[in-house]
């Protein structure tokens, strides 16, 4: 488990920026007048960072105030959430079947997920100790019910929806009280990864959960370390410690807080203000400028996630639209992209360069075995001239997200250097889906894809295969789809690697995806809070093991 308390940090996947802030022109512009004022007046800047921390023993009790990255349209749904704040709320009320951390599976409610020899059936063994907050045991029937509900698009959807099509829920069954047998519609050797990456909460099955709208956090029973004490949708949720939590052993003795209050604060500046002003002990998903300015303040820790946990900054070229129907133009746009400049300028250095593929750190990612995409403006220019599009204007549509607008502006300047003109405009989610599913209103989409996910089980079903919802690039290769399924069914690891590598090479060569950078997520904690963990969802950190000194 990673610990975001930098003074005690031992996890290489997180690090605290302890350097004094250095400001460039773009830093200042990004921060703007508002934060500039804060910079000028804040006495915190005088503070220095402490070097060492004494060994501390976790203390039980107290109240944690969590400034979550929320939206006003907060939902109460267990399985389908609109924001990290809802995830932060739910992940403490419920336990996942299991999850991925740093690319590795972490079983939780299940002890194991094992396939039959032909990988068309998978058996999940339930943890014998697992108990709901009402004291009843978690059974295989509850887990199967939870998986089915989470996969139902009318109830859940989300990350497991990609798996839903592969699970035959009618044929799936429980074997005794402790085993779920999932039957698949087609053999898949990576269903365990799919289940873990799907992060499905386990709830108690019940007849009162017959309608989609009944799957709300105040109407279901969970097995998490906290229970819901109060909820004002769009404002805050109060969680109380589950005194009889079954998984204290898994949490090293936690949970520790008597109470957690998760505040719904959509504005990142307001979240930072809440932390700096002492109204919150933990603030999630802060903006880079605010974190950078306050990095040297010893009263707080600002932690950066590693690329395995990062969002992916992308420019997606729609190959259904001219001039991107020409592979030479797609390649030229990739070669014209100076990724280091984007990381430095748009992310203020909070990130790293990517190589046009998603899913780093997870199984089946081979981007590191492909050459890093070069910045080659001369070749880009030559390709554009060959394609006869030099001097043409393209439109970059910017989807709201951290750093995307700045990235699009910088990329437009880079395109100018290879003889293309680029117009940048910001769009809303409805505008993006206006011409769904062809996205014919989009030429190039600048977007920060949230939450790194495994390539084969999540990324491809969500946005790369022909039928996927988010296929903005128009990567419509049915043979590639078929070979992907065949690769996913392959149990021989060497053979599977060969097949996956080939699929990813083809995609890397020819698709409209420019994955230019990994965008770090920055969370801030007060110095009195220890043991905060990313554990699965980086912008909704876990405080299951956390405590206050």
């Amino acid at each position: 488990m990673s610990n975001v308390d930098s003074r005690n940090a031992t996890d290489p996947r997180t690090a605290t920026d302890g350097k004094a802030p250095v400001f460039g022109r773009r830093d200042v512009l990004s921060f703007g007048a508002l934060s500039g004022g804060m910079l000028a007046l804040s006495p915190f800047l005088a503070a220095c960072k402490s070097d060492a921390a004494p060994a501390l023993t976790p203390q039980r009790g107290g109240r944690l105030r969590f400034a979550g990255a929320g939206v006003q349209s907060e939902t109460k749904n267990v399985f389908n959430t609109n924001s990290p704040q809802e995830i932060a709320r739910n992940r403490h009320l419920f336990d996942w079947v299991g999850y991925m951390e740093g690319g590795e599976p972490v079983p939780y409610i299940v002890e194991s997920i094992e396939p039959a020899d032909d990988v068309s059936r998978w058996r999940m063994r339930i943890h014998k100790e697992a108990r709901f907050s009402d004291g009843s045991p978690v059974t295989a029937a509850d887990v199967l019910f939870s998986l089915r509900s989470a996969s139902d698009p009318k109830i859940g959807g989300g990350l497991l929806s990609a798996a839903a099509a592969s699970i035959d829920f009618k044929a799936s069954r429980t074997v005794g009280k402790d085993v779920v047998e999932l039957r698949l519609t087609e053999p898949l050797a990576d269903m365990d990864t799919q289940i873990y990456a799907g992060k499905v909460y386990v709830i108690k099955a019940g007849s009162h959960l017959s309608k989609p709208e009944s799957f709300t956090v105040d109407n279901v029973v969970g097995s998490g370390p906290y229970t819901l004490a109060d909820l004002k949708v769009g404002q805050s949720a109060k969680l109380a410690m589950n005194e009889n939590y079954w998984g204290r052993g898994l949490l090293g003795g936690g949970p520790y807080f008597s109470e957690i209050e998760v505040f719904n604060i959509p504005d990142p500046t307001a979240r930072l203000n809440a932390l700096l002003g002492g109204q919150a002990d933990l603030a999630a998903k802060l903006d880079y400028a605010g974190a950078k300015v306050n990095a040297s303040n010893s009263a707080f820790s600002f932690t950066k996630t590693d690329r395995v946990y990062a969002n992916e900054g992308c420019f997606i070229m729609n190959s259904r639209k001219k001039p991107f129907d020409d592979p030479r133009v797609r390649l030229a746009f990739k070669l014209a992209c100076q990724r280091e400049a984007l990381v430095k300028g748009a992310l203020l250095g909070y990130g790293s360069v990517a190589n046009d593929l998603q899913g780093i750190g997870f199984p089946d990612y081979y981007g590191d075995e492909l050459p890093q995409r070069a910045y080659d403006p001369a070749q880009a220019q030559a390709l554009l001239r060959q394609a006869g599009v030099a001097g043409e204007t393209v439109e970059i549509s910017v989807f709201p997200g951290v750093g995307t607008a700045a990235a699009a502006q910088i990329y437009a300047e880079q395109l100018g250097k290879v003889g293309m003109k680029a117009r940048v405009r910001e769009i809303t989610p409805p505008e993006l889906f206006k011409n769904f599913p062809t996205f014919s209103n989009i030429q190039v989409l600048a977007v920060a894809v949230p939450g790194n996910q495994p390539f084969a089980t999540s990324v491809a079903p969500r946005s790369l295969v022909s039928k996927s919802t988010f296929n903005v690039a128009g990567w419509l290769d049915r043979d590639w789809d078929r070979r992907l399924l065949a690769a996913r069914a392959t149990t021989d690891q060497a053979k599977r690697k060969k097949l996956m590598f080939r699929l990813q090479s083809e995609f890397w060569d020819d698709s409209g995806w420019i994955v230019w950078g990994y965008q770090t997520i920055v969370n801030g904690t007060a110095s009195s809070v220890h043991g905060v963990s990313l554990a699965g969802v980086e912008d909704a950190p876990s405080v299951r093991k956390a405590w206050k000194s």
Partner: protein
Amino acid sequence: MRVARFLFLRTLGGLAMLPPLSVLVFAAIEVLPGDAAVYALAGQNPSAELMAETRHRLGLDRSPPERYLDWFSGLLQADMGRSAINGQSVSAVIEGRIGNTVILGVLVILLMVPLALAVGVFAGTREGRIGDRVFSLITLCLVAIPEFVLAAALIVIFGFGLKLLPATSIFPVEDSPLMHPTVLVLPVATLTLVAASGASRQVRVGVADVMRSRYVELARLKGLPERRVVLRHVIPNAVGPSLQVLAGSVGVVIGGSVIVETVFSYPGLGSALAAAVTTRDFALVEGIVMVLAAALIIAYTAADLAVSLLTPKLRTAL
């Protein structure tokens, strides 16, 4: 009786404004691209069929007039509908937040009215002198500064610098903001300063006009002390017309609350309205706008009545 009749007619007039207003709001939402189905399915991997089904469930596949009439007929039966995004009853959303906005608004008005009058009268009675110029400069600056900039400055000074007040207005879920009065100070101060600045400048103009009037000149020539001239002749004649200006400041407070509630994370109607517009949550936007419009109509009606009662010529006409 005449006052009652006046009130009745003004209220009727105000209510008659609501249907056309609702049409305008509906039309404004309609011209925005996209629809709420995308937001309702956010975080999922929806198929085209699910998208179509969601649009059907939300009634988005029907014509705009049909949807408008459906919503408006529900409103007449006190049913404001449900949020397209999270399915919550619009009435419940409003009910959960209106109290917070009322607390904010009432505190601002209670502070803003005497402050605007005091500053306006002070500057107006000293037209062209140093006191007038200083106050005019200060109020001009405050009027020119956007609410979010002023709010940020107050946060930096009082929240981070002096550490006297909370930088955000968050408080325990079961409490009222009145149980944590410090969380109200900065939002109230921000709105009060902005609203009072504009209003005080209007009051100042009114007072300065009256100060130049012949009857004030006559009062001075009769040897009345300046203090008495101001208290007996200037203020009563200048304040009446200013009440309409002050009522107009309620609009500034309502508009400003959208920004201030967002900056301070104050859980009121303003922040909910901002979010509902972003997500094209038509029912919620309409519901909140109707409530805010009703508040504005009440404020103007009260101001009309007060002006009529305070102005002798109008009072006799009632």
